[in-house]
Structure formats: structure tokens, C-alpha cells
């Protein structure tokens, strides 16, 4: 098995490096893909701006992952299930998460995980790598219920070092689960570079340990990502089991808004990475194909800008949750002691109210 076959179709300027797949002859998919990549990036810019002005909490930028998330989301069926990590806003938004709700989540409000449009998709996973096992559980349910569906789950390069991820690959192999694992190998786990995570030649090699297919893909190349994802999904739908895709990208941003990457990362490396970034590359291809021009670009930016701004405004206008909301979803039915504590919390939230309960 040779997992190091680095799948690539477009070079950094968007020029094909090999014959393109048949589907790439039509512009429609590319236009849609480009639309969402630009949307994702504008959402990102806005989120950072909101954070800088105190209107959002610590935020994990998606910058540099557009070329992975967008083609993956576009390849999935709506009844597939997404089990994301915390950097898949682009994927989530395409699958239906309203922009408002995406802001809400990063604004420190649980309602950001509640949108009915998310269906059975999982919310963001903050504890690293735990999502890989949840995805296997979801895929097990699909398999038990004989559904022709697949589960797609993401993880960072750092996350691949945690036991959960490796246990997940392993069980997916043994149980032949309809699950697609996608590593966003953006080369950094906060300050820790890829080579300190593992001595594996490629992170895709971790598939070998689990006896499943693994492939390394250029994560800045949407054609390669679509190809790899589609094949993996087909395998899943056809009962042929799991696939591991290592999407090689670069974290073009700080780890989060609470991080300062200049403390540990070389500026030249970052510069070089910008040269490979996915939006420019796709635009290059579209322009070369005659599908895109300055004017269309301008119109798109304008439209998306409006959408994002409106969502941000809606987000900011949204009334906060009631205090009791953090009690109300602890259990399907609130136990006695929580009813009591909920009352204290409500009273405390009133002017002059106190947290401390009445003595007997």
C-alpha cells in the first residue's frame, strides 16, 4: 500500500498538473465551490473583527482550510452525518448552519449548536480527537440500521496523536464502518509542528495500522479533495468500509484569536504557504477556463459581504438566553435539586438577588 501518493490536479497557479476528471469540464460545481470558499473567508474575517471588538469570544479561524471543507461539504449528501472538530465552520455552514448561529456559538452561547438545520450533525468537539470515535458510533448506527449513508469526520494533525483517533481508525477497520476520516494537516498544533507529532512518513500512513485505505491529498486543491472525498464516500455507501484522507494544508492564521503565532513560527514559512492557498488557486483555474473575471468577482464579494454583515447584525441583536437555560437542558426532566438550584439562579439574576438559598 502506498499512502504517500500525494493526489494533486492543480498547481499553485491553478494550472493542471495532470488530466482533470471528467466532471471538471462543467463550471457549475466550481462556481458553487468558489462561492462558499469566499463566503467562508468573509465569515472568518467578520468573526475576527467581532472578536477584536469584544463582540465574540476566542475564535478559531478557518483561514487556509477552505479548500478542504468546501469540497467535502459539497460532496456529502444531506443525510450523511458530519462530526466536526472545531475548525469546520465552512463545512457546517454549507450543510445548513445559519451564519447567525455560527457567530452565536463563538459568542459563547449554546444556541449556536441547536439549529434544526444541523440535523443529526454533531456540534464542534473541543476535546481533541474525541469526535473520531463519535463518528464511528454514528457510522455503526448507520450500519446496524442498513442505511446507505456515510459519516464524515475531521481532525487536525495534532489530534492524530491522541489515542481516540487511532482507536477510531482501528474499530472502523474491524467493523468496516461507513466513515471517512479527514485530517486537516495544517502543519501546526498551536505551536507544535507536524514533525513533533509523529515520525510517520505521512499521517495517512496511520491507516496501515488499522488495515484501511489511506491517501494523502493536496488540501489546497479542490479538485483533488473532491475526487478523494467522493471515492471515499462511494466506498462507504457501497459497504466497502472506511477511508482516511490526509489533506495537506497550512494554518494561514493564528491558532485562535488568543494565540500569537509569531512567537513560534517563521514568517517565511507563512509567506510560502500563502503562495499555495486554495482560493487563489481555484480562481486561477476558473479564470484560465474563462469561467471567471474581475466583474464576477466584484459582484460576488459584494453579495457575500452583505449576507455576512446582515448575519452579524442579526447575531448582535439577538437577545441573550435566560439564566435558567443552563438548567433546562441538563436532563429531559429536571431533578428536584436542580429545580431548587434553578430557582436560586433566577432569583440571583434579579436586581439585588442572591445566589445563596434560603435556609430551612
Amino acid at each position: 500500500m502506498n499512502t504517500q501518493n500525494h493526489l494533486q490536479f492543480l498547481d499553485c497557479e491553478g494550472v493542471p498538473t495532470q488530466a482533470l476528471p471528467k466532471w471538471a469540464e462543467e463550471p457549475d460545481w466550481f462556481l458553487k465551490c468558489y462561492h462558499f470558499m469566499v463566503l467562508a473567508r468573509q465569515f472568518d474575517t467578520k468573526a475576527i473583527a467581532l472578536q477584536r471588538t469584544g463582540q465574540l469570544g476566542t475564535y478559531a479561524s478557518l483561514l487556509g482550510s477552505e479548500g478542504i471543507d468546501v469540497p467535502v461539504a459539497l460532496s456529502m449528501q444531506s443525510d450523511d452525518v458530519l462530526v466536526p472538530y472545531y475548525r469546520n465552520h465552512a463545512c457546517q455552514i454549507i450543510r445548513g448552519l445559519p451564519l447567525e448561529d455560527a457567530f452565536l456559538y463563538w459568542g459563547g452561547d449554546e444556541r449556536g449548536n441547536a439549529a434544526i438545520e444541523m440535523g443529526k450533525d454533531f456540534p464542534n468537539a473541543v476535546p481533541i480527537a474525541t469526535q473520531s470515535l463519535h463518528a464511528c458510533g454514528v457510522a455503526t448506527a448507520m450500519k446496524i440500521n442498513n442505511l446507505k449513508q456515510a459519516t464524515v469526520t475531521f481532525i487536525g494533525d495534532g489530534g492524530t496523536s491522541k489515542g481516540d483517533f487511532m482507536e477510531a481508525l482501528n474499530i472502523a477497520g474491524v467493523w468496516h464502518l461507513p466513515v471517512v476520516f479527514i485530517i486537516n494537516n495544517n502543519q501546526w498544533a498551536i505551536s507544535v509542528p507536524r514533525e513533533i507529532q509523529s515520525a510517520a512518513n505521512a499521517l495517512a500512513d496511520k491507516a496501515i495500522a488499522a488495515g484501511i485505505p489511506g491517501i494523502q491529498v493536496d488540501g489546497n486543491d479542490v479538485i483533488a479533495m473532491r475526487e478523494a472525498t467522493n471515492q471515499a464516500l462511494q466506498r462507504a455507501y457501497e459497504g466497502k468500509g472506511p477511508t482516511l484522507i490526509e489533506a495537506v494544508s497550512y494554518r494561514l492564521c493564528d491558532h485562535t484569536t488568543a494565540d500569537d503565532a509569531t512567537r513560534y513560527r517563521d514568517n517565511d514559512e507563512l509567506k510560502a504557504a500563502w503562495h499555495r492557498e486554495p482560493i487563489k488557486r481555484l480562481r486561477g483555474h476558473m479564470v484560465n477556463q474563462g469561467w471567471w473575471d474581475e466583474e464576477k468577482e466584484k459582484a460576488l464579494l459584494h453579495e457575500i459581504n452583505k449576507t455576512v454583515q446582515k448575519s452579524a447584525d442579526n447575531y448582535i441583536k439577538m437577545a441573550p438566553q435566560a439564566v435558567e437555560s443552563f438548567f433546562d437542558h441538563m436532563y429531559a426532566e429536571l431533578p428536584e435539586h436542580l429545580v431548587e438550584q434553578r430557582d436560586w439562579a433566577v432569583v440571583k439574576a434579579m436586581p439585588g438577588g442572591s445566589h445563596h438559598q434560603e435556609g430551612e
Binding site: 449554546e110 444541523m118 470515535l133 455503526t140 489515542g163 482507536e167 474499530i171 437542558h329 441538563m330
Partner: protein, 327 residues
């Protein structure tokens, strides 16, 4: 139909019964399939329900818990077995960070109806790590329910309730009494309530609170004390989270005296919470300090000395006597 069963068989009976009723229930764990579990709690279920509903897993507790969380959000009701409670630690991240939080995190969009079963407690001469009582680690976690049966009938009824609960339930089975008592129970699918104590014996002089295997010694002590004319009220806490504070307070208000008995270490054992709550809500009704008869704050010794670690009937009798003598 009536069955004369021990606690272990009652677990098996409840699993089989509910699996017949509810197709969404699936079991997973190490050695639960052909082998029927190292204690035989899942004996013959693989034969009846097949590979898809009784799944032997690779050896990885983190994985078991993670799969369980995943499955439970998608319309299945997984019942996972952790072979011994001493091996539950790798599962805690998924239990604490996900099972206990999914409903709240998603404002009820997703939830985790699931059961994790694990035998626990000492006294069976087992190797290291096979005798723990670390129920505190689970009872402390908001979002979980933690249930411990102490008789075949309660094992049957509470396990049914656990499988029907819309939220994650940790079901701890006191293995020391897995086979010690046979009881006639009817396999009628009738559940017992989670979140309620069971008063096993009424009495007016003193309240004895316990759960799991220690119920045996607690009842023994109560019977012996009766001979001396002392009337103990014996309560099986059964649901250690959420706690049925009302039943406990009512009893203590009646008797004025309380002894709590558990195997777990004393420091931050559940006895601490019960004592603190009672002292807070019924201080003036207490006629003596609350006594705790517990395991020590040491590692459970290897089995040659484990009986020195475990509280025994005499310990309970002595604690009752002292509590009654207090003035």
C-alpha cells in the same frame, strides 16, 4: 412467568426482556458476545439477538465510550459494559465531556440515551484494580444518573428504567452480591423509579443509609440490633445521583440519628454529600453526629487484606451503638 434469579441473572433477564421489546437497544463491550461476559451477565444474548445487537469490541474503553456516545445520538440505545469499574477511567472523557453534556450543549437537539454497566466493589478475592468503588467520580458529574441495585428485583427494575431513560445512566453492579441471593421475580417489564430511595426496613431509632453490596451487612446489623431492641430504618439509596434527599430527610427527621455505610473511601465518598446535606437541612433535628462507616482513604489492598478494608456488620453495629449513646 416467575424466575428465581440472582442479581446477575436479573441483569441478564432485564437486558433480554428490553431487547425483545425495543429494537433500538444494542449491547457492546469486551467479551460480551460468545463468552457472555466475564461474569456471564450477557450470557446467551448473542445467540438470541445476533452479532449486530451484541457486539464484542476491541480492547479499548475510550473507544467503547466514544462509540456509545456516537450511537446514542442517532436513534440507537447502546448499553455498554465496562468489564470492571477499575477500567472505566479511559472512558471518563467521553462520559464527562460528551455523554453528560450533549443534551445541554445542543439545547436538546441531540441527546445521549445510553447505559454504561460496570461491576464494582470488593470482596471477591480478585486481582488489583478489580475491586474499586469509585462511584464518587461519576456521581459528582452533572448530567449523569448513577444507579446501583442491591437485590435481584431492584437490578431488574432499575436496569429496565435505565434503558428507558432519555439520558445517560451509569449502572453499577455490586459484584460481591452477584450470586449471593436468589429472588423470585416476574419478567413483566415493570421498571422501578430512578431517583428514589428504597426503604427496606422501617424503624424509629436510627436511620441506616447504604447502597450496593453493603446493604447486606447493613440489613444484618439491623437484624442483630433488633434483638437488642433497637429499631433501625434501613434505606437503600439506589440512585446515588440524583439523590432522593426528601426520603432521606424524612427518615432522619423521624429518627434523629443517621449512619451512612459505604465501601468507597471516606474522603469525598457519597457519605460526605449525604451528611453535609442532612446537617444543612436538618441540623436541629439531629440528636447525634452523623456517623460514616466507610472504606479507608487508602488504595484497596490486594485481596489477602481486603476484608480488613471493607466495613463489616460489627462496624455498623458499633457505629449505631455509639450514635445512640451520644448525648
Amino acid at each position: 412467568m416467575k424466575h428465581s434469579v440472582c442479581l446477575l441473572e436479573a441483569v441478564n433477564l432485564a437486558l433480554a426482556s428490553e431487547m425483545r421489546r425495543d429494537d433500538s437497544i444494542v449491547l457492546l463491550g469486551e467479551d460480551i458476545g460468545v463468552n457472555g461476559g466475564v461474569f456471564r451477565a450477557t450470557a446467551s444474548l448473542r445467540e438470541e439477538f445476533g452479532l449486530k445487537r451484541v457486539m464484542d469490541t476491541p480492547l479499548a474503553e475510550t473507544m467503547i465510550a466514544g462509540l456509545t456516545v456516537g450511537m446514542s445520538t442517532q436513534g440507537l440505545k447502546p448499553v455498554a459494559e465496562i468489564q470492571f469499574m477499575g477500567f472505566i477511567f479511559p472512558a471518563l472523557e467521553h462520559i464527562i465531556c460528551h455523554a453528560a453534556r450533549m443534551r445541554n450543549r445542543t439545547r436538546s437537539r441531540l441527546s445521549c440515551p445510553m447505559v454504561i454497566r460496570a461491576p464494582f466493589g470488593g470482596g471477591i478475592h480478585a486481582p488489583e484494580h478489580h475491586s474499586e468503588s469509585t462511584e464518587t467520580l461519576l456521581a459528582h458529574i452533572p448530567g449523569l444518573k448513577v444507579v446501583i441495585p442491591s437485590s435481584p428485583a431492584r437490578a431488574y427494575g432499575l436496569l429496565l428504567a435505565a434503558m428507558r431513560d432519555p439520558d445517560p445512566v451509569i449502572f453499577l453492579e455490586p459484584k460481591r452480591i452477584y450470586r449471593s441471593v436468589q429472588q423470585e421475580i416476574e419478567d413483566n417489564g415493570v421498571e422501578l423509579p430512578i431517583g428514589k430511595c428504597f426503604t427496606l426496613r422501617e424503624g424509629s431509632d436510627i436511620t441506616l443509609l447504604s447502597w450496593g453490596a453493603m446493604i447486606t451487612e447493613t440489613l444484618e446489623a439491623a437484624a442483630a440490633l433488633k434483638e437488642q431492641g433497637i429499631h433501625c430504618e434501613v434505606i437503600d439509596v439506589a440512585s446515588i445521583s440524583p439523590l432522593d434527599t426528601e426520603t432521606i430527610l424524612t427518615s432522619v427527621r423521624k429518627t434523629g440519628r443517621l449512619v451512612i455505610i459505604h465501601e468507597a473511601p471516606r474522603n469525598l465518598g457519597l457519605g460526605a454529600e449525604i451528611a453535609a446535606t442532612v446537617a444543612e437541612k436538618a441540623l436541629l433535628e439531629l440528636q447525634a453526629p452523623i456517623a460514616r462507616v466507610t472504606g479507608y482513604d487508602t488504595v484497596m489492598p490486594y485481596f489477602r487484606l481486603e476484608n480488613h478494608y471493607l466495613p463489616n456488620t460489627q462496624d455498623i453495629i458499633d457505629a449505631v451503638t455509639q450514635t445512640l449513646e451520644f448525648s
